[in-house]
């Protein structure tokens, strides 16, 4: 009966092996998941300058939801009135990171600032438009010829206007550009001091509501994509590649949250920046949140650069190699498929 005993033994060994394997798998899994959490490490102190706009939504979500803490970051949010101001805070060393549109980045680079865009977190093709009064005989973009258009000079508002006019074959000289601050746009158009304004939300939506059917909005059909990006000093990136990765991971998590919980996200964002939630809900459809680095960012920056050179907004005449101002390694390490910049 030794055969029987042997088969019995064989069975026992097989069972043992199976059980052992399962245990090993479980232990391994827990060990690995444990490793990701990195408990006990002191939190990295980071200051993030933000523009107080819904476009920086992922930042607020990550902050409120405590995602920064989860990644071992002690983030202080530094509110600013605009992305440009936020970027200035970084340039002045008052903050480590800034959420800022691409235009201030372009100007900063043109001024010779050593900065990096580490990721885009927001894009929208309909955040900017030219709204025109119909009573001024404007019903097509071509009708803008010879009209008074309110624009904030040196901003992407002007860039958008130029691009739209060029698209419709109207030389820029054939319109009367009236320089207005973003805040003046509403009143000027309402008072009729200008026939149209090139502006962005929330001024745009306020005007749209004010005029209703009496105004027409030209969005530009993809000629311009507004982006909000995270920018840092190059030195900071080189010294803290790990922090950058963590920030990116946090923002990716926040974007996922927004995608899955849009209502809650809107509420958090509106609460944080003290904005009317209903307004935000109306605009929500034109917002795209996503942590990326796309080839289009490069092209966008270069296009704006050429525009700036042409309009003498800068004393430089050569388009810089923006590859040197985009920090690819961070996002490549965290989410490589989100990097579409050709390389």
């Amino acid at each position: 009966m030794s055969g029987e005993v042997k088969t019995k033994k064989l069975f026992q060994y097989t069972y043992l092996l199976l059980i052992g394997g399962v245990i090993a798998l479980l232990v391994g899994y827990f060990w690995l998941s444990q490793k990701q959490q990195r408990p006990g490490e002191p939190l990295e102190k980071v200051t993030l300058a933000e523009p107080t706009q819904p476009s920086a939504g992922p930042v607020y979500i990550a902050y409120i939801k405590g995602y920064f803490k989860d990644e071992g970051l002690d983030v202080t949010l530094q509110p600013h009135t605009s992305g440009k101001a936020a970027l200035n805070a970084v340039l002045e060393g008052k903050a480590d990171l800034a959420v800022v549109a691409e235009t201030p980045i372009m100007f900063a680079v043109m001024r010779g600032e050593k900065i990096y865009a580490i990721a885009t977190l927001f894009t929208s093709e309909k955040n900017m438009a030219i709204i025109a009064r119909k009573d001024r005989k404007i019903s097509l973009p071509a009708d803008l010829k010879g009209k008074r258009i309110g624009v904030s000079i040196g901003t992407n508002g002007e860039f958008f206007m130029d691009a739209l006019l060029v698209m419709h074959g109207i030389p820029v000289k054939e319109v009367k550009a009236v320089s207005l601050t973003p805040e003046e746009m509403f009143d000027s158009l309402v008072k009729g001091e200008v026939d149209a304004v090139s502006t962005w939300h929330p001024h745009l939506i306020r005007l749209q509501k004010k005029f209703g059917e009496r105004a027409i909005t030209f969005y530009g059909d993809g000629i311009y994509t507004w982006t909000f990006n995270v920018a840092v000093m190059q030195e900071f990136a080189h010294k803290n590649p790990e922090v950058i990765q963590r920030v990116l991971r946090t923002l990716i998590k926040a974007v996922e949250f927004i995608r899955e919980n849009p209502d809650e996200s809107r509420k958090i964002i509106a609460d944080y920046i003290r904005m009317d939630e209903s307004l935000l809900r109306e605009l929500w459809g034109i917002y795209n949140f996503g942590i990326t680095l796309e080839q289009s960012l490069l092209i966008n920056l270069e296009n704006q650069t050429r525009w700036a050179i042409k309009n003498k907004l800068t004393d430089k005449t050569k388009v810089p190699n923006y590859l040197n101002f985009i920090y690819l390694d961070g996002l490549k390490a965290v989410k490589p498929e989100a990097v579409t910049i050709i390389r």
């Binding site: 029987e4 088969t7 064989l10 270069e302 050429r306 388009v319 050709i342 390389r343």
Partner: protein, 798 residues
């Protein structure tokens, strides 16, 4: 093969197949993964080429440094992809090589483009413009070639994936088919070796449940079901045997309860066991009378003829402990099995057994507790292996038999005790009657004896009347003897108790006994050394011995052996339980055995009765054993008789042992002259004739004698008397007042006298249970002249 083993084998098979399938799937997945990564690379290449085109396009638009950098970067990453190790097959390598060449020419073209731009600067010339267009066209052509190569690569990978998947699904199908075949085979096997036997087993339970205990499932399979079936069969077998056993026990129990004695019970058991088990012959052995050997019981049974010789021979055997088949069962108290008796060294009857062809034997002891009652032997002709079951059954029959015998014995014991009790009660009644007669008799005899003696003295020598008177006196003496014996039987004799050594008594008697029994009889005395003492009247004990000896002699008219034996014995509780009126404790035994004619049970039942005799008229009075009985009882002892006609008789007397030292035997020496005196004697006796006789006798001896017919009269006399009274001779039994009370009353009137009591028999006034109170003087009626005169003198001289 066991089901368990089969299941294990199946499990191992399934496991193996699962492993193989797993392996196939794993390898396929590996393969597919590889091909997918190949696909990815192909995609990546196509994408890369596309991106190079984009950048080229951008460059053509803007001619900026960033585009050059990006182009270079993309070119490098593509080159890396193309030189990767992923594609090993030669055709793919060929494609890759071609792509590589194309990529290099793309690079060359792009460099030319850059060169051209650098050369011309911002000023466009027609020539440079044309070159630029040509170069751009060339770039597109090469890109196109690369893209189509990439799609070829992808196609190849896709084909590989398809092949791998096809192959793996084929393999999986094959193994699944094998598995299905195994499962089918297993279920078939189960059907054959599990379901069918289980159904059979089920049928079996139904058949057996219906009462047919002979049914057997009878499987030869070695698996669990086989085991189950066999266990089932065995269980039913056991049950059947148990039922048989119960039936056997019942018939035997019933049969035995009908029978009277051990032997017939044994015979029934032997027969029933042989009939039930098919054994040929059964015999039984029982312990002999002293329990030293087993001897052949009359009970035996044989199913065939021709074993009588064996039986006849066997009857001559006896077996001590441990010897022979019965002896072995006796010593071990367990059944014994002998496979072949003719070859067994401890089977003394081997030769006889061989002669009749008996081979296997078993012996089963019948026990009551630890006591062997019998051993049953059974035989068969053929050699058989030990059957424990059979031994068990017969053993339980034997134990049944044992307890039955025990019950019978208990019943017997009760009967015997009852008989003994009745006997002793009868004796008691007769004794009382005899005692009453003896009392009156004694007074009459006193008178006859006294007056004949007196008359004798007054007649001259040679007077013919003297002879007549002498005859009267002799007859009276014999009558007195008889009365005395009767009194002894009725235990009314006054005992003069003394601590005795029976051996001494026997030694003193020895000579006389030998004279009595004559020369034909051989007398042996076996006196126990260190014999314990008893408390008894030595005269009475002598009487007992003499009576027993005389009886023994009479029982052996043609001579024989007579044995007198003494011993210390301990009568235990068990003995006391089975014998009436026995107090357990240390005793001294006196046994008288003869080899005479013996007695039938009918005679034995009556021998202690007074006047029972088998002897011819004039030879025996029938009072001998009555006297013996009375004396033994009065002495606190017991007497038992064992007798068988033709074999002889043994009387055993047990007297309680005492721890005191024996006293000197008081021997009275009587002088030739009758003593005389002149003291005053008061006779108190209600029987006038006796009173007068005593008066005459005493006056004749010189005493001054006063007489009173009763207690009151005597008191009167004493009151009026001046001189002292020396002795009061008083009857113990008087109307109105007993002797004792009277003596006390008298002492109130006058002092200084002694009292001599006289009586025909005792009662509690002066003696308790016949034993005289300390310090009292007593004279037995009938009075004789000698006895009275001497006793009076003795009392006066004290």
């Amino acid at each position: 093969m066991k089901i368990r083993t089969r299941l294990q084998i199946i499990a191992i098979f399934s496991l193996a197949i699962a492993l193989v399938i797993g392996l196939v799937l794993f390898l396929t997945a590996q393969r597919v993964n590889k091909e997918i990564s190949g696909l990815k690379i192909a995609d990546e290449i196509a994408k890369g080429v596309f991106e190079l085109n984009i950048i080229t396009y951008e460059y053509l638009l803007h001619h900026e440094e960033r585009m050059q950098t990006q182009w270079q970067l993309r070119h490098d990453s593509l080159t890396k992809l193309l030189t990767g190790e992923e594609f090993k097959s030669p055709e793919r390598r060929l494609i890759l090589d071609r792509m590589h060449q194309n990529l290099e020419s793309l690079k060359a073209l792009f460099s030319q483009l850059v060169e051209n731009y650098k050369r011309r600067g911002r000023k466009e010339s027609a020539l440079s413009r044309e070159l630029e267009e040509r170069l751009a066209g060339q770039l597109l052509v090469k890109s196109q070639a690369m893209v189509s190569d990439a799609s070829q690569l992808a196609e190849a990978s896709r084909a590989e994936v398809a092949i791998a998947q096809q192959r793996s699904s084929l393999l999986v199908m094959v193994f699944v088919a094998i598995m299905a075949a195994i499962i089918a085979a297993v279920s078939f096997m189960f059907g054959r070796s599990v379901v069918k036997p289980i159904r059979k087993l089920h049928e079996g339970t139904e058949i057996i449940g219906a009462g047919n205990l002979d049914y057997r499932v009878g499987t030869t399979a070695k698996d669990e079901i086989g085991q189950l079936s066999r266990a089932f069969d065995e269980m039913i077998g056991k049950r059947k045997r148990a039922e048989e056993e119960v039936r056997l026990l019942q018939t035997i129990t019933f049969a035995i309860s009908e029978t009277g004695d051990v032997h017939s019970a044994l015979k029934i058991v032997l027969q029933k066991v042989c009939e039930a088990t098919g054994w040929i012959m059964g015999e039984a052995w029982v312990p002999n009378s002293d329990g030293t050997n087993l001897e052949c019981s009359p009970a035996w049974y044989s199913r065939v003829e021709g074993l009588e010789k064996f039986r006849k021979e066997s009857e001559k055997f006896t077996f001590p402990l441990g010897i022979g088949l019965p002896g072995r069962a006796w010593s071990s108290k367990k059944p014994v099995w002998v496979g072949n008796v003719t070859l067994d060294s401890n089977f003394p009857r081997a030769e006889i057994a061989k002669g009749v062809g008996l081979k296997t034997a078993m012996a089963i002891p019948v026990l009551i507790g630890d006591e062997i009652v019998a051993v049953m032997d059974f035989f068969v002709f053929e050699a058989r292996k030990e059957d424990e079951r059979l031994l068990e059954i017969i053993s339980s029959v034997a134990s049944q038999l044992g307890s039955l015998i025990q019950r019978k014995r208990a019943e017997q014991e009760v009967r015997v005790l009852e008989e003994q009790l009745r006997q002793s009660q009868k004796m008691e009644a007769i004794g009382r009657l005899a005692g009453g007669i003896a009392h009156d008799f004694n007074n009459l005899l006193t008178i006859i004896k006294g007056y004949s003696q007196l008359s004798f003295g007054e007649l001259k020598e040679g007077d013919p009347l003297r002879e007549n008177i002498e005859e009267i006196r002799k007859a009276a003496d014999r009558a007195a003897d008889l009365t005395r014996q009767l009194l002894a039987f009725s235990r009314r004799q006054v005992m003069e108790v003394q601590v005795l050594d029976l051996n001494t008594v026997l030694k003193n008697l020895d000579k006389m006994l030998r004279r009595m029994i004559g020369e034909d009889i051989e007398l042996t005395t076996l006196l126990f050394e260190d014999l314990g003492r008893v408390k008894a009247d030595p005269g009475q004990i002598e009487q007992v011995i003499m009576n027993l000896i005389v009886n023994a002699r009479d029982a052996m008219p043609r001579g024989g052996k007579l044995t007198i034996e003494t011993a210390n014995v301990e009568l235990d509780k068990e003995y006391a339980r089975t014998h009436v009126a026995v107090t357990p404790g240390p005793h001294v035994m006196l046994a008288v055995s003869d080899t005479g004619v013996g007695m039938t049970p009918e005679i034995k039942a009556k021998i202690f009765e007074p006047f029972f005799t088998t002897k011819e008229k004039g030879r025996g009075t029938g009072l001998g054993l009555s006297t013996v009985y009375g004396i033994v009882k009065q002495s606190g002892g017991n007497i038992w008789v064992y007798s068988e006609p033709g074999r002889g008789t043994t009387f055993k007397i047990y007297l309680p042992r005492v721890d005191e030292l024996a006293e000197e035997l008081r021997v009275k020496v009587e002088g030739p002259e009758l003593p005389r005196g002149s003291e005053t004697i008061l006779i108190v006796e209600d029987d006038e004739k006796v009173r007068k006789l005593a008066l005459k006798i005493l006056e004749k001896q010189g005493y001054e004698v006063l007489e009173a017919g009763g207690g009151n009269e005597a008191l009167e006399i004493c009151r009026g008397l001046e001189k002292p009274i020396h002795v009061v001779l008083a009857d113990v039994v008087m109307p109105g007042m007993d002797g004792r009370q009277f003596a006390e009353k008298l002492r109130e009137v006058c002092q200084g006298f002694k009292v001599l009591y006289m009586s025909g028999y005792t009662d509690n006034t002066i003696a308790h249970h016949g034993i005289l109170d300390e310090g009292l003087d007593f004279i037995q009626k009938p009075l004789s002249v000698d006895g009275l005169v001497r006793k009076v003198r003795e009392v006066l001289d004290k």
